[in-house]
């Protein structure tokens, strides 16, 4: 099963059509586990399914002058059979305060940041070469030992790029072979 998130619009904070997707309006804390505002979408929390791949699209139109980092993120747990694992796979697209946009692929095991890689995506703005929107996806390989993160920014001038691929190899303590979705 493949989960899909489409047309996620930062400006309008539009609805979410996937299992777990979080929108981060503005958060300015360095302390972990503080309460913060959020918007979450969860289609059906009574049943949990498995998915091997997720997609997202983020647009930052109208998100000007951000005083704090802003972004859209797919955050989803691992799954082993019917068991939900403590691993959480996340693919944020972050708009930084300097208008740079980056992809922050990462995996948590419980509360421990286990793996992290950053890719450059481009700059937010209205110039031809600035970022229009970003497609991104992450998925398990056939052997269910690795998760690949892929970001594809599209620019205002109609060009696009494929950011460098980042691949997480499952570590000790992570028994996931799928993602959990509602």
């Amino acid at each position: 099963m493949v989960g899909r998130v489409e047309y996620f619009d930062i400006r309008s904070m539009a609805a979410v059509s996937a299992a777990i997707l979080l929108l981060i309006p503005v958060m300015t804390t360095g302390s972990a586990f503080a309460a913060n505002p959020y918007i979450a979408g969860y289609r059906d929390s009574s049943t949990v399914h498995s998915a091997s791949q997720f997609y997202g699209k983020v647009e930052f139109d109208g998100s000007t002058g951000a005083s704090s980092y802003t972004g859209g993120v797919i955050s989803i747990s691992g799954r082993d059979g019917t068991a939900i694992e403590s691993a959480v796979y996340q693919a944020p697209v972050t708009l930084q305060t300097d208008d740079d946009i980056v992809g922050d692929s990462q995996v948590y095991l419980g509360t421990t940041l286990e793996w992290y890689e950053q890719v450059a995506i481009g700059e937010h703005g209205s110039d031809d070469e600035d970022v229009d929107y970003v497609y991104y996806t992450f998925y398990w390989n056939g052997a269910r030992t690795q998760v690949t993160f892929y970001y594809e920014p599209h620019y205002n001038d109609g060009t696009s790029s494929s950011a460098t691929i980042e691949t997480y190899t499952r570590v000790t303590g992570d028994d996931s072979d799928n993602f959990a979705t509602g």
């Binding site: 777990i20 979080l22 981060i24 958060m27 804390t29 360095g30 302390s31 972990a32 586990f33 309460a35 913060n36 959020y38 979450a40 979408g41 969860y42 929390s45 049943t47 949990v48 997609y55 980092y69 747990s77 019917t82 068991a83 939900i84 403590s86 959480v88 944020p92 972050t94 930084q96 305060t97 922050d104 990462q106 095991l109 419980g110 509360t111 940041l113 793996w115 992290y116 950053q118 890719v119 031809d128 070469e129 996806t137 690949t148 594809e152 920014p153 620019y155 001038d157 109609g158 060009t159 696009s160 790029s161 494929s162 950011a163 460098t164 691929i165 190899t169 499952r170 570590v171 000790t172």
Partner: protein
Amino acid sequence: MYWTVVTLATAMVVGILASFSLTPSLSQEQPAEIQSIEYVSGPDAFLERGGASAVIVQLSPDRIELGRGESATVTVNLSHRAATDEFSELHLVPSNNQGYLGLPSSDKLTTIEERAELARQGKPIPGMINNSDMISFATQEVSVAAGNDQSVQMTVTVPEDLPDEMVGKSIHIAPNFEIREMQKASPDDASRAVLFPDMLTVIVVN
């Protein structure tokens, strides 16, 4: 870069709940109490959350204009910030994984699934140009001691046969380096040093 760690409060992220001893049984999974997860963005957050070393890339210049067949040199500065003494020195080599340029006409030739998988395998993607074909480095290995900077020269060449549809448009390249120490590490130690890239924009003028 004051802001470092984004914290998310969520009732929905089931993965984190497992770490709080929720049931693993499918039939018993329920919407959970509001818990918090976080995500990390940037070197400060990474180092605060247990990372050992951050290599921060800065390009000078980071925007150039070139015609087809023309070249320019860009200085790639690599700054090694260390939170621990785990890596007194890091050895960086240009990666084979440098991303791709997508022509305006290329989007409909493949699906995102196909592009992601071809990119993962390092294979050609229809309608896309491998950035590795447009850049070269003056040296094939750079060593950067903790707390220090090193620079390497990168030459960018716009292909002579770049299609007309790219004239007046942009090429985006974020030079990527592999950290040799990470290649040797086991998966469990595979993210102790992380590269934070910068992006070069090339405007194709003719």
